[in-house]
């Protein structure tokens, strides 16, 4: 069985950003959710440079969803709890799709089960989402130790400086503030010197 592309929050954010207005996405949450939503929202907000608003649907009517979503028309909004939505709720969302239209991006936070319901009961919303469905992944987000060492070696080679000298200059407050020096300090575990 094939599957949707897996992307970390960072890449999903880039996709949202390049699209501009009226973007619709589905993000398939990891099976073990512990903190995944908060991390995703924080990551997305960072990339978009504006807060992503979380709209909860659990136990609320479609009318409430509509009014919550349109509280602001232009900010990116993420709708949660739709895994609990039954066929009637999806159907109500589907026939009233126009009421959910907004300039800001709409991200639906779903499990595979929730996605199957969306595709089964809400063909008009599925059509809006199209192929913009991504598994939320974390691979590639963090640097491995080898990658870190390689990167430090590159910086040392280019600037013809040893890492120890960079730390010394950082401690003396004379290290330039350019981003690559910031990166260098962080790679050395000395983010406190920034």
């Amino acid at each position: 069985m094939t599957d949707f592309i897996t992307e970390p929050a960072f890449e999903i954010g880039r996709r949202l950003e390049i699209r501009g207005s009226y973007a619709w996405f589905v993000v398939l949450r990891p099976a073990e959710e512990g903190g995944a939503l908060e991390n995703f929202v924080a990551g997305l907000s960072s990339v978009l440079d504006e807060p992503v608003r979380v709209v909860h649907t659990f136990g609320s009517s479609f009318e409430k969803l509509r009014s919550d979503l349109n509280e602001s028309k232009s900010d990116p909004a993420l709708i949660t709890d739709l895994d609990q939505a039954d066929a009637d709720y999806w159907s109500a969302m589907d026939v009233n799709r126009s009421a959910l239209l907004r300039e800001g991006a709409v991200v639906l936070w779903l499990s595979s089960f929730g996605l199957a319901n969306l595709c089964g009961y809400a063909p008009n919303i599925r059509s809006f989402v199209g192929g913009s469905i991504f598994n939320l992944g974390t691979d590639g987000e963090a640097m491995t130790l080898d990658e870190r060492d390689l990167r430090i070696a590159e910086l040392e080679s280019h600037f013809e400086l040893k890492s120890a000298d960079v730390i010394k200059r950082g401690e003396s407050g004379v290290l330039p503030t350019e981003p690559h020096f910031v990166e260098w300090l962080v790679l050395l575990g000395r983010g406190d010197l920034v």
Binding site: M1, T2, D3, F4, I5, F10, R14, R15, I18, R19, G20, S21, Y22, A23, W24, A42, S46, V47, D49, S91, A92, V95, N96, R97, S98, A99, L115, N117, L118, C119, G120, P123, N124, R126, S127, V129, G130, G131, S132, I133, G140, E141, M143, E147, R151, E154, L155, H158, F159, T177, E178, P179, H180, V182, E183, L185, V186, G191, D192, V194
Partner: protein, 530 residues
């Protein structure tokens, strides 16, 4: 400047107590050298030492895929690139680190290149936005008018020539119905003989609970609004103005409901007065009760024929005033195609449309595709004409219309002609899918750092779309699709099959030509070898 100030704040106010964390990710190509995909670094800076707090800066550094270490070193030797390889573009520059550019001029040109590339892709994405409101797309000049044989003109001309006629427009999801209806409205407006009113009813009220009278209520509200906005009131006499003011109030109450206070005599209640109650015999015993009458746009509540009659008179007052201009009235109802079945559609429209016919108001309405098949045909029989938007042929020799959409919207800057053909074929001739695929392929190219859309980008977009069509299908539906693929047989009278048509998994090219959506077809599970 905002970012620059925040950066300073992080350094100064926290006295070196900012927490800087780095998240880095590299995109290697199939485990090879990694030189053809971008490299990314992300820095997050937080005030204080709480790593869970919200970052005040997210700094992203991108390096172009073609800047190999060797080339960068060479550039550095000749003074072209005085910064590290793979760190040659700063996404937030020059806003954030303005000072940097004073002594790193070559990087400015790099940054400009990056900005230009991003703007090129952004412009492409803006023109290919399948979820942007159709009215914006039309106003931006992005619509190819003759796409469906100028269907909008056929619709509008019929409404123009036969006042009070009722027409339906049906088609699969994303086939372009809204665009055709809006173009018809525009065309009628240009002719100057008709007052046309477009209403997307689902954006105004809860369509899932829609009941008889709601369409008339929506029509009434739009009619009174248009009457005022077009200045029709200006040359009316005082009597007419009073009549229309009263009619407007009735229409509003019909739509939104009203609250009245009515006197209720205590005789109607089982009221036992207290022993010390002083009975003023000259007063009738009773009290006021507030009674709320719900409006038609606040569902659900039962439909009553007498309600429809009640709204007829105030509507007629406005219609008569408009006809003296002289203008015909055409109402265009969009969104009704999303009602899940012909029965539901008919339950919502039949009383209201009958009233509109009596008022000789022309109607165009989007309707579910299912009114064309099986039991649904009894619904379509009630209308003067039913127009169908079929999927356009995606075959290379017949895909001219689809290709014209692409060249009209996207040009050839990012899309080569062979990629246009590939996108057309994968779309199955469904307009929204065509635009979705083109956008998604462009997005994939941008993310990967490519300068043009390549075959792998189109294929990735088509696979994602096909997978989304596959989800939610049960074993029986998958068997039907497999049978259609293999034997080309499809029973259009069966209700589950109609659902496959409505949801766009099966596309109709002619009354005898049904096919599985080309993006979905390769996703269907393969038979397990025995």
């Amino acid at each position: 400047m905002r970012a620059s100030r925040r950066w300073s704040a992080a350094r100064d106010s926290s006295a070196r107590r900012a927490t800087v964390s780095l998240v880095c990710r590299r995109r290697w190509s199939d485990g090879s050298a990694g030189s053809n995909r971008p490299f990314w670094v992300r820095l997050e800076i937080r005030l204080g030492s709480n790593s869970a707090s919200k970052p005040i800066i997210c700094h992203i550094v991108e390096a172009p895929p073609d800047d190999s270490t060797a080339r960068a070193v060479k550039k550095a030797q000749i003074g072209e690139c005085p910064i590290p390889p793979r760190l040659t573009r700063f996404r937030l520059e020059p806003r954030m680190y303005t000072r940097t550019w004073d002594f790193m001029p070559p990087t400015v040109s790099k940054s400009k290149q990056a900005t230009q590339r991003r703007e090129r892709f952004r412009e492409y994405m803006r023109k290919l936005n399948p979820t942007a409101p159709a009215r914006i797309t039309i106003e931006s000049g992005l619509v190819v008018e003759e796409l469906h044989g100028s269907l909008f003109k056929t619709l509008a001309a019929r409404a123009d020539l036969e006042p009070g006629s009722q027409q339906l427009l049906v088609g699969g999801t994303g086939s372009g119905k809204t665009t055709e209806l809006l173009m018809a409205e525009k065309w009628l407006d240009q002719q100057g003989q008709t007052l046309s009113l477009y209403i997307d009813i689902s954006s105004e009220t809860d369509l899932s609970g829609l009941n008889s009278g709601a369409l008339l209520a929506g029509f009434g509200l739009h009619l009174t609004k248009a009457f005022s906005s077009k200045g029709f009131e200006d040359d009316l006499g005082d009597t007419d103005k009073r009549t229309l003011k009263s009619a407007r109030t009735e229409i509003k109450e019909f739509a939104f409901g009203k609250t009245t206070s009515i006197w209720v005599s205590d005789d109607e209640y089982d009221f036992e007065p207290p022993d010390d109650y002083d009975d003023p015999s000259d007063q009738e015993q009773g009290h006021y009760v507030t009674q709320k009458v719900p409006g038609k746009l606040k569902p659900p509540f039962p439909a009553l024929q007498r309600d429809i009659q009640a709204i007829r008179e105030p509507l007629e007052a406005f219609i008569t005033a408009i006809r003296t201009r002289p203008l015909d009235i055409v109402i265009i109802f969009d969104g009704l195609d999303r009602l899940p079945s012909p029965d539901r559609f008919w339950a919502v429209v039949h009383q209201d449309f009958r009233a509109l016919r009596r008022l000789r108001v022309g109607v165009m309405a989007a309707a579910p595709l299912s009114v064309l098949y099986g039991e649904g045909r009894t619904v379509s029989d009630h209308f003067d004409r039913v127009h169908q938007i079929r999927a356009l042929s995606p075959e290379p020799e017949q895909s001219g219309y689809l290709e014209s959409v692409m060249s009209h919207r996207a040009g050839t800057d990012l899309l080569r002609p062979d990629m246009v053909k590939l996108i057309c074929r994968s779309s199955g001739g469904v307009l929204r899918d065509l635009i979705t695929l083109a956008r998604d392929a462009g997005e994939a190219a941008y993310i990967e750092g490519a300068e043009q859309i390549l075959v792998q980008h189109v294929n990735a977009a088509a696979a994602q779309l096909g997978e989304s069509y596959l989800r939610g299908l049960g074993p029986e539906q998958i068997s039907t699709l497999k049978r259609l693929k293999k034997e080309r047989s499809f029973d259009v009278a069966s209700r589950p099959n109609v659902e496959l048509l409505v949801t766009g998994r099966v596309l109709e090219y002619s009354p005898t030509d049904f096919r599985v959506h080309p993006a979905l077809e390769p996703m269907l599970p393969k038979p397990v070898p025995k």
